[in-house]
């Protein structure tokens, strides 16, 4: 099942399939390691549910839902 990174539940893991969006922000997402194939894990949400803190490539990255929604991931079907 494919899912936007912004729709992850805390503790959910996924593998990036593609990154939408355009321009500088998209390039920045690439630079920070959000490229297809990378595994991401939603660690926690800030107070009021946004921004989100992900673990990827061995470090912690915080993103807003606005940016995270550009990142499409393949996640396992919820059991």
């Amino acid at each position: 099942m494919q899912k936007e990174m912004s729709a992850f539940a805390i503790g959910e893991t996924g593998r990036i399939v593609k990154v939408l969006g355009e321009g500088k922000v998209r390039h920045r997402l690439f630079d920070m390691g959000l490229t297809p194939g990378a595994e991401v894990y939603l660690r926690k949400k800030a107070p009021m549910g946004d921004p989100l803190e992900f673990t990827l490539r061995g470090y912690e990255l915080s993103l807003r839902k606005d940016e995270a929604q550009f990142v499409i991931c393949e996640v396992e079907e919820a059991k």
Partner: protein, 789 residues
């Protein structure tokens, strides 16, 4: 001498390595044209005989032009052509760190990779296969621990050797399906004689803005060979990361690499509490309260007020009286340090005055030295201890990685204001000093966000403004029976409130934009290093003392001179007695000095002798008139200007002949905020309370005077920093904004306190302005959306 540049990710331990390499030789300056800090130092190896100049480049994730730091680092390596780049790589986070390495390797420059934090890695039971990594990357790799200064001499020895051999740039993309395309593009660059052709070719294929601008001719050619639908920037990032995960990460030996989510490190445990969904914000507020308490409180942790803690020994009469505690509670470290300096400088001032008296110095010279040195320099240095203590705490919070979490926690709130959570960090730094705070805004993404943040920083009570708050505290309590402590706290909270109100208004009107993105690494927590902290603080002390020795001394001399000189350059002594009467009868001038002495010493017998018909107990009827400052240059100018302060309650209408002093200190305060209380102290000869009483200023007028000075243009240093950091052409508007905002705040404070009924008019106007701005913004947004659709 050779030049080695240090490049690496933020939090890779680059600065620690720089400190370890250069020791005390570091020199901090600014990069030309921008105020991003430039740190340079010298390395002198005892064992390997290597000598080199080390340049610390700003911490970056990539060489794409997303932030000014990236542009600076890129331009430095390409244009200044260092002999070698030392790429600092955090060994505990190889994957993301090596991403920058793959870009650095594309430039024609010798590179040595310093694998830092090796000690941490060993603790985790992991080791890196260095020879294999060297083979893959094609450059020397050295294991170092910057923190424990392990491997540093070896690193520099290898660097020295590598710098002797020219290196051609190589790209990981040359081993992929896109090798042909990269090869063609490189050839185009090479044919036009461009240095580092591989780097430029890859960046051009990525459609990098900077590249297209600097090489327009090649851009056309290369874009012509780039397939229409190919997103090369996505491909290149993808290939780089694939290369790293396939070729590099396997070189880690030891226990199987656990996924970060499977283990709970210390950092994670701390984070669970500090960034907790519910507790995060209260914890931050508590930390802030403790920090300010440790700096400014005279009742530490409210131990006295809440728990009745009190000490019976108070060292009465000794030097220690009131140093550590008073009847009101225990002093915070900041207050203790401040008291220590106060005692010392008082002793020093006495010593100076005694020395001057011993050599029969002319009265004007005594006055001059007291004005400039004691009232000027000593008073300003007096605030250094508390500024330092505050600064130490902020450095600890920043270095430990907590500030990044603060941005994370507050982003949601700040987004409502149109800023990212990052903007909160420079604003908080504004509580310490506006200059580094404004420099810090370079981490913000858009020009408008920078502009708004820099403007808002001026409203925060910085260390220099503390001098004003401290100086007027006694007056507030004594003359106006106000709660000065409450007012000080109010200013700290009020500064933030006013900043928020100002940002909202700007965001709705002149600085409208979509909220900038928030993409930020949350580094692992680590204990701040004592050494780095000391280096920070020493820089701060140097900076402050430099300010004192230049701006403060010059302005103190200026103020003293032009309050003692008339328009035709004659010297007058404002303290000079020009008339003396007893019961309305003038006394002979030759008696004045003796009478003044006798009054001061309460020597009634002498008074009876000096004044015919004197009745004991009526010395209050002796009227002494001092010359005052009439006729001096600054008195003239300030009196002329003072009517503009009438709406704020401290113009000539309200304070009459004293208005010039309020005007003078408000205007000279633009030089540096320390000058505001300084000027008042100088013109009142140290008796501020008496001066305020004599001037007849009202409570509202006095509060307005303080608020105006707290909110207006901060200081020369801030103006020059703002000029460098603001987008072009924005400085004049920013200055105008500061003046208008502070003027309106002053008027509002004066009217609201002295004429409470005016709130019935001013509040609706205020609300009206915000409502109008809100609808203006909504309208515009709708129009833009309609246009986009």
């Amino acid at each position: 001498m050779k030049t080695f540049a240090l490049a690496g990710n933020p939090n890779s331990g680059k600065t620690t390595l720089f400190n370890a390499l250069t020791g005390a030789t570091a020199y901090v300056g600014n990069w030309p044209g921008v105020t991003v800090e430039k740190r340079e130092g010298k390395y002198k190896g005892k064992h390997n005989g290597v000598e080199a100049k080390i340049v610390d480049l700003p911490g970056i994730y990539s060489l794409s032009p997303y932030t000014p730091e990236e542009i600076i680092s890129r331009n430095f390596i390409l244009d200044e052509k260092p002999d070698l780049v030392i790429n600092v790589v955090d060994a505990t986070n190889l994957e993301r760190n090596l991403y920058l390495t793959t870009q650095l390797l594309e430039i024609d420059v010798p590179v040595v990779v310093a694998l830092n934090m090796n000690d941490l890695l060993q603790k985790q039971g992991i080791s890196v296969d260095v020879p294999a990594l060297e083979k893959t990357l094609g450059v020397p790799v050295v294991l170092v621990s910057a923190l424990r200064t392990h491997g540093i001499d070896e690193l520099l020895a290898k660097a020295d050797k590598a710098s002797n051999v020219a290196r051609k740039g190589t790209s990981v993309l040359s081993n992929t399906a896109h090798a042909e395309l990269v090869g063609k593009a490189t050839k185009i660059m090479e044919e036009n004689g461009i240095a580092s052709p591989v780097f430029h070719a890859v960046k051009m294929l990525e459609c990098d803005e900077l590249e297209e601008k600097s090489h327009p001719e090649e851009a056309k050619k290369i874009h012509a060979i780039l397939p229409e639908d190919m997103e090369f920037d996505a491909i290149s990032a993808d290939e780089r990361y694939q290369y790293i995960s396939e070729k590099c990460s396997i070189h880690r030996k030891g226990e199987k690499i656990e996924r970060a989510k499977d283990k709970l490190t210390v950092s994670d445990k701390i984070d669970r509490v500090l960034t907790n969904r519910w507790a995060g914000i209260p914890i931050f507020l508590l930390i802030l309260l403790i920090v300010f308490g440790l700096t400014f409180s005279e009742d530490l942790l409210f131990l006295h007020r809440w728990f009745g803690v009190q000490f019976s020994i108070n060292f009465e009469g000794s030097y220690f009286e009131g140093l550590f505690w008073t009847d009101g509670g225990i002093n915070s470290p900041g207050v203790i340090l401040s008291n220590l300096w106060g005692g010392f400088s008082g002793w020093l001032a006495d010593l100076i005055n005694q020395g001057l008296a011993n050599v029969n110095t002319a009265p004007w010279a005594v006055g001059f030295i007291n004005s400039v040195v004691v009232d000027g320099v000593f008073a300003v240095i007096g605030f250094l201890p508390q500024i330092l203590v505050l600064y130490i705490f902020f450095s600890i919070l920043e270095d430990s990685g907590y500030m990044a979490r603060v941005a994370f926690i507050f982003d949601r709130i700040f987004r409502r204001l149109g800023l990212s959570g990052r903007a909160f960090i420079p604003m908080l730094m504004g509580y310490g000093c506006g200059v580094p705070a404004m420099v810090n805004t370079r981490t913000l993404n858009t020009d408008k966000e920078k502009t708004q943040t820099i403007r808002a920083i001026a409203f925060f009570p910085c260390g220099a403004k503390m001098t004003l708050l401290a100086a007027i505290a006694g007056v507030l309590a004594g003359n106006f029976h106000q709660n000065a402590t409450l007012f000080s706290y109010g200013v700290y909270v009020g500064g933030l409130v006013i900043a928020i109100l100002a940002v909202i208004l700007m965001h709705w009107t002149t600085q409208r934009e979509k909220v900038p993105p928030f993409i930020m690494e949350l580094p692992a927590y680590h204990l701040p290093q004592f050494r780095a902290l000391m280096i920070h603080i020493w820089d701060k002390v140097k900076h402050y003392l430099k300010k004192v020795s230049t701006i403060v001394i010059v302005s103190a001399i200026f103020i003293w001179a032009f309050t003692h000189l008339t328009w035709n350059w004659t010297y007058i002594e404002p303290e000079e007695v020009i008339n003396m009467t007893y019961n309305g009868v003038a006394l002979a001038p030759e008696l004045w000095a003796d009478v003044a002495d006798a009054v001061a010493n309460e020597n009634f017998a002498a008074l009876a002798e000096l004044i015919p018909g004197y009745v004991e107990g009526t010395e209050g009827d002796i009227l002494i008139t001092l010359r005052g400052y009439e006729g001096t240059v600054l008195h003239g100018i300030s009196s002329f200007v003072s009517p503009i302060f009438v709406p704020m309650g401290f113009g000539n209408v309200q304070t009459g002949q004293y208005a010039w002093a309020y005007t003078l200190s408000s205007v000279t305060g633009i030089v540096a905020k320390e000058v505001v209380p300084d000027t008042l102290i100088i013109v009142s000869s140290g008796d501020l309370a008496g001066f305020v009483t004599a001037s007849g200023i009202t409570v509202g007028g006095f509060y307005a005077f303080v608020m105006f000075n707290l909110m207006t243009i901060p200081c020369f240093a801030a103006i020059s920093t703002a000029k460098a950091e603001l987008p072009k052409g924005k400085l004049k508007w920013t200055l105008l904004f500061w003046i208008c905002a502070s003027y309106l705040i002053g008027v509002f404070v004066y009217l609201s306190i002295d004429f409470v009924w005016t709130l019935a008019i001013s509040l609706p106007i205020l609300v009206g302005i915000y409502v109008a701005a809100y609808f203006y913004n909504r309208n515009k947004t709708k129009k833009e959306e309609a246009l986009a659709a």
